[in-house]
């Protein structure tokens, strides 16, 4: 493999360069962003076809073999994440064709979006801890500018919280990397795992592991340092929020899973129990904060926190079944959450507000949009045949098998409260009559309206498909979890064998 594992990084970079060169030509930028997104999707499909039988696609960049050079290693978890990035990129680029203001596109929305995608993809493919840190910085800078672009006051306030906490987290990662390097003399994750498994330095390893747990915990919005998320996510335009909710926190979760299955898997009694506690508290605090909100986008943003709790719960339980649940949940939540934010953006587009108290009667006016919303919302709450049901079911069965009654009870209770929040949006925005009739701000002809809704329709179809074809998805996730539970496979693929 001489190029394929690097393509998820190279393709968005090339697109970003083209967009920067065609700075003045907005139409060309849109076309390039769309084409690049489709290419990212295509590349991820090719990679998935190569890795779905369990082979790990490994590439030693620049021909410098591990552990000396930077290694890119794509296992089944990475490749499903890449696929989700591709889907999201296409959906959001189509959405921005219809709903993004001119000043933002002029100030470089598209190159930034592509650089963000490059950073996210980079984090998913890299097999080197320091390189992972670099990709985090790439996506932090890109996302910071995307967040602040437009310069409205709440946006700047949110951006400052976002950057301050994320810099703190980066500093923690860097400190942890320093200690690990001093201890093991390598930053290649496979080599690190190998060294840690030999394990003479129990205490020091646990300390570094907690540093990484905090750092990635901040990045993914875990309890207790999640408050940057509700402060910053609801401020930029819907397209940006959708992109962030689908990708940013998920990179944090991915890193947590990667590091705590590969490197720090030697002390699960302490470390993974700590993660499980964090997961439970994250779920509860997220869902309670959401119940108090009366603005669609804020409810959805705070709910991201609670969803992160479910994803991390599987990692905390640390069995193959639980990790399977985690992976299924990741797939489900990325699609559903992005879709909900896009639907919220569409509501804002036609009604000019996100306020639940001002909205109403959307079901009568826009039945199509309402159906798209209710399917995703019910899926998020975990109503059967939809994707969320199977994801939650897997996690709960895994919890019951481990006899972790507390976390199972928490997960079930939080699920009910999620249902409450979702029905609240449904009842207020869609069902009840509008307090005073709001005019349709942007009446579109039917064909354009359908094109505008097309990414949401596609995501909704995927949500239903994930529920209906739960079998194959589950099998894939199970195989990916099996890879994660056996670090020897990863270590062997990276350190041994030909390139």
């Amino acid at each position: 493999m001489t190029l394929l594992p690097a393509l998820p990084i190279v393709v968005p970079l090339a697109g970003a360069v083209l967009c920067m060169l065609l700075r003045k030509n907005i139409a060309a930028q849109k076309a390039i962003a769309l084409a690049t997104s489709f290419l990212i999707l295509l590349v991820s499909l090719v990679i998935m076809a190569q890795t779905k039988d369990g082979t790990i696609a490994v590439m030693h960049v620049g021909g410098w073999r591990a552990p000396l050079g930077i290694t890119l290693a794509i296992d089944m978890l990475s490749s499903v994440m890449l696929l989700l990035v591709g889907l999201l990129a296409v959906g959001v680029s189509v959405y921005t064709l219809f709903d993004l203001d001119a000043p933002r596109t002029r100030f470089g929305f598209y190159p930034l979006m592509l650089i963000l995608l490059m950073g996210v993809n980079g984090a998913f493919v890299t097999g080197d801890l320091f390189n992972l840190y670099v990709w985090f910085e790439v996506l932090l800078i890109a996302s910071f500018i995307l967040l602040a672009l437009g310069g409205e006051k709440p946006q700047l306030e949110g951006s400052i919280k976002y950057v301050a906490l994320n810099l703190l987290s980066s500093a923690l990662v860097l400190a942890g990397i320093g200690v690990l390097y001093g201890m093991a003399g390598t930053l290649n994750m496979a080599e690190l795992a190998h060294v840690v498994q030999q394990g003479e330095r129990g205490g020091l390893v646990t300390m570094v592991a907690v540093m990484f747990m905090m750092a990635f915990g901040i990045k993914c919005g875990m309890f207790p340092l999640y408050f940057w998320l509700p402060a910053s996510y609801p401020t930029p335009p819907a397209a940006v929020t959708a992109l962030f909710s689908g990708l940013l926190t998920k990179v944090g979760v991915y890193s947590l899973i990667r590091v705590f299955t590969l490197v720090f898997s030697t002390d699960p009694e302490f470390l993974h129990a700590l993660i499980l506690w964090g997961a439970g508290l994250t779920m509860v605090s997220g869902v309670l904060a959401a119940a108090a909100q009366y603005e669609i986008r804020k409810i959805l943003a705070v709910h991201i926190v609670s969803q992160i709790g479910y994803i991390v719960m599987g990692l905390g339980l640390f069995t193959q079944l639980a990790l399977t649940g985690t992976i299924v949940y990741l797939i489900h939540v990325i699609i559903v959450k992005t879709n909900l934010f896009l639907v919220a953006g569409a509501i804002k587009r036609i009604k000019g507000t996100y306020e639940l108290r001002a909205l109403g009667g959307l079901y009568k006016e826009k039945p199509g949009l309402s159906i798209l919303f209710i399917i995703s919302a019910m899926s998020l709450a975990g109503v059967p045949p939809l994707s969320g049901f199977f994801a939650k079911l897997t996690l709960i069965i895994a919890g019951l098998r481990m006899e972790s009654w507390a976390i199972v009870a928490t997960a079930l209770g939080v699920s009910l409260l999620t249902l409450y929040s979702m029905t609240k949006i449904w009842a207020y925005a869609f069902w009840k009559p509008a307090p005073e009739p709001l005019p349709d701000l942007d009446p579109m002809p039917r064909a354009k309206w359908l094109a505008f809704l097309s990414p949401m329709i596609a995501f909704t179809v995927i949500t239903i498909a994930l529920g209906v074809c739960a079998g194959p998805v589950f099998d894939y996730a199970d195989a990916a979890a099996g890879q994660l539970m056996d670090p020897e496979i990863y270590i062997g693929a990276v350190l041994g064998g030909a390139d």
Binding site: A6, L13, L21, M59, V61
Partner: protein, 137 residues
């Protein structure tokens, strides 16, 4: 700033700084230096010019938008990773060509140098984008 000493000094400093930046760029292959430092040198030459005269004049002698320079630099760095693919090596592997010189010696040109030239322009462009937009406020 309207100091005549500063302006006159800048006129004399400007060309040697650019030449030195190219020297640092080339030296970087075996010794301390390279595209990043070289780009900073070249960028500071133009920043000095902008301070002594004005941002508008500095933009005028640069003739290109610094953002275009950044994009071009990124493109060069990206393209420098592609040649090894033709000999079935990994992306970004160093690839070398020997150019015969008229004197009979050969000159080795490699992709690491091309990558470094890309870095040079990225740093140069980004630095000037910052300096120019701060200077214009």
């Amino acid at each position: 700033m309207t100091s005549i000493i500063f302006r006159t000094a800048t006129r004399y400093m400007f060309p040697p700084m650019l030449v030195f930046s190219a020297y640092v760029l080339l030296r970087g292959h075996h010794y301390p230096g390279g595209g990043f430092v070289g780009g900073l040198f070249a960028g500071s030459a133009f920043s000095l010019y902008a301070l002594a005269f004005s941002v508008a004049e500095a933009r005028h002698i640069l003739r290109m938008d610094p953002r275009d320079v950044t994009a071009a630099g990124l493109a060069v760095a990206l393209l420098s990773g592609l040649p090894p693919l033709f000999s079935r090596h990994a992306f970004l592997t160093g690839t070398w060509w020997a150019l015969p010189l008229p004197s009979g010696a050969t000159l080795d040109i490699g992709t690491p140098l091309i990558f470094d030239i890309g870095v040079y322009f990225v740093v140069f462009g980004v630095l000037l984008t910052f300096v120019f937009s701060l200077g214009e406020e």
